[in-house]
């Protein structure tokens, strides 16, 4: 961030791209909803409630992408010390938190009719929640450190370490066959409760939904970064005005 660019207007073309992305997200999401409501139809054994699955998995992919980006942003920040990578990391953590919260809530709404309980102490559910807590801890760490340079450095380091909880969530169904959570991708274990046959329509809708959530995550992160940059500009402007007085 060069000092001279601080008071330059926000780049026009970037705004255009962001507008285009926003439009794309809205259209894609609308289309996803149409597919979900009109195209797939109720699932054979689970009925209407299965429709939430596309949002459930989509938002999990969103959080996975966001948390992976946190690691990338953290590594680049530690190498370059450019604060914009810290902003990038922060934006991704916040969006990832929202996305995984959606995963947890949609999972619970699905579990109520299928497993007959909102919550069960299944390894998968627990590990997703722990993952969410790890990134909540990231926010706590940031809030607890005064010096901005140190805050950025520690946030980058913790953002990398916290990814252990993401990997753990993904790996856990592979090594712990006693989860009752269905596995859609990869080897299925003996007796998941609530698994279903993947038909072509289900597959198409799923892929479309995954794509939608990928674009949505990128768009939201961009907005969050932009907001942070604007906030920074306001702060600098304030300091400049105060200095002139």
């Amino acid at each position: 961030m060069a000092v001279s660019s601080q008071h330059a207007p926000y780049p026009e073309n970037r705004t255009r791209i962001l507008q285009a992305l926003t439009l794309a997200t809205l259209v894609l999401f609308a289309a996803s909803l149409v597919l979900d409501w009109a195209y797939v139809g109720p699932e054979r054994t689970q009925g209407e409630v299965q429709r939430v699955f596309y949002v459930h998995l989509g938002s999990f992919l969103g959080s996975f992408i966001a948390f992976t980006a946190v690691v990338v942003g953290g590594v680049i920040y530690l190498r370059t010390r450019n604060p914009k990578w810290d902003t990038f990391g922060l934006a991704n953590v916040e969006i990832g938190l929202v996305m995984s919260a959606i995963t947890i809530v949609t999972g619970m709404t699905w579990a109520k009719p299928i497993w007959n309980t909102w919550w069960t102490w299944d390894p998968r559910l627990t590990s997703v929640t722990i993952m969410w807590l790890a990134y909540a801890a990231y926010m706590m760490l940031r809030a607890g450190i005064e010096d901005p340079e140190r805050r950025r450095r520690f946030a980058a380091v913790y953002g990398i370490i916290a990814f252990a909880s993401v990997l753990f969530t993904i790996i856990i169904v592979r090594v712990k066959p006693d989860t009752i959570h269905p596995v859609v991708a990869g080897p299925t274990q003996a007796d998941p409760t609530g698994a279903f046959d993947v038909t072509d329509r289900i597959r198409n809708t799923l892929f479309f939904s995954l794509f939608t959530f990928t674009v949505m995550t990128a768009t939201l992160v961009w907005y969050r970064v932009r907001l942070e940059n604007l906030f920074e500009r306001v702060l600098r402007r304030k300091i400049d005005i105060l200095a002139e007085l």
């Binding site: 010096d147 901005p148 340079e149 702060l235 600098r236 300091i239």
Partner: protein, 238 residues
């Protein structure tokens, strides 16, 4: 020996050092004066490679900090207002630990520690836990720790903080006889008279820059308070 050019250090958006220049020749003793918050401690932390500069060049013995800090650490001795010692270890054990950390030859380690403890007047308390030491004794041990590895550069950050008259006088002698000899020294202090008495040069730090830099031979100790006030006052009214 120490070369600082255009040094800038900011904490967040607050600048502490704003383009500071300072040169210290080999064997020179510079007293660094300045009001609280003028950035004295920050400067010494940067010279000790404990903190990285935001901008500017910092060299010790020709090596760039912080990139080449590993090459000069062995040449640095630091005494700060905290003793940097371990409470639950004895004086001897503290020095032994730092001797190991600096990898001093094991054969001569013991003698060297005994000799140093003797010179800082702590021989009889060598086996006592540092927690039981008075502030003055801790500070003397801290000096022994700082010069244990015979560094070429000595950085003293307010070494007189919390010392009574006697302890301060004792520290004066100790610095003059043991610590300073043949070393390049920067000492921060609030005590203008003491700074003038010990140093070859006096530098006043104000608002993140060196506002005054004169050899002590050129000014009388009595003039220093007025010059100091001018230097810091001129900068604060801007």
């Amino acid at each position: 020996m120490i070369e600082v050019r255009g040094l800038v250090k900011t904490f967040g958006l607050t600048p502490v050092l704003r383009g500071l220049d300072l040169n210290v020749a080999r064997g020179e003793f510079v007293a660094l004066l300045g009001p609280n918050g003028s950035g004295k401690t920050t400067l010494l932390r940067i010279l000790g490679a404990l903190s990285r500069p935001t901008q500017g060049i910092v060299r010790i013995g020709g090596w760039d900090l912080p990139a080449e800090a590993d090459y000069v650490r062995r040449q640095l001795g630091v005494v700060s207002h905290l003793p940097l010692l371990y409470d639950m270890l004895t004086a001897e054990e503290n020095l032994l630990f730092f001797a190991r950390l600096y990898d001093l030859p094991p054969e001569t380690r013991r003698e060297q520690i005994d000799m140093l403890l003797n010179r800082v007047g702590l021989r009889r308390r060598a086996r006592d836990v540092v927690r039981t030491f008075s502030r003055g004794m801790q500070q003397r041990l801290a000096i022994a720790r700082a010069i244990l590895h015979d560094p070429a550069v000595l950085l003293l950050d307010e070494p007189y903080t919390g010392l009574d008259q006697d302890a301060a006088a004792l520290l004066d002698d100790l610095l003059r006889e043991v610590a300073i000899a043949g070393r390049t020294v920067i000492m921060t202090t609030h005590d203008l008279r003491r700074g003038h008495a010990l140093a070859d040069r006096v530098a006043v730090l104000s608002r993140g820059k060196i506002a005054l830099d004169v050899p002590t031979a050129e000014i009388a100790a009595d003039d220093l308070p007025r010059l100091y006030a001018d230097a810091t006052g001129a900068a604060t009214t801007r």
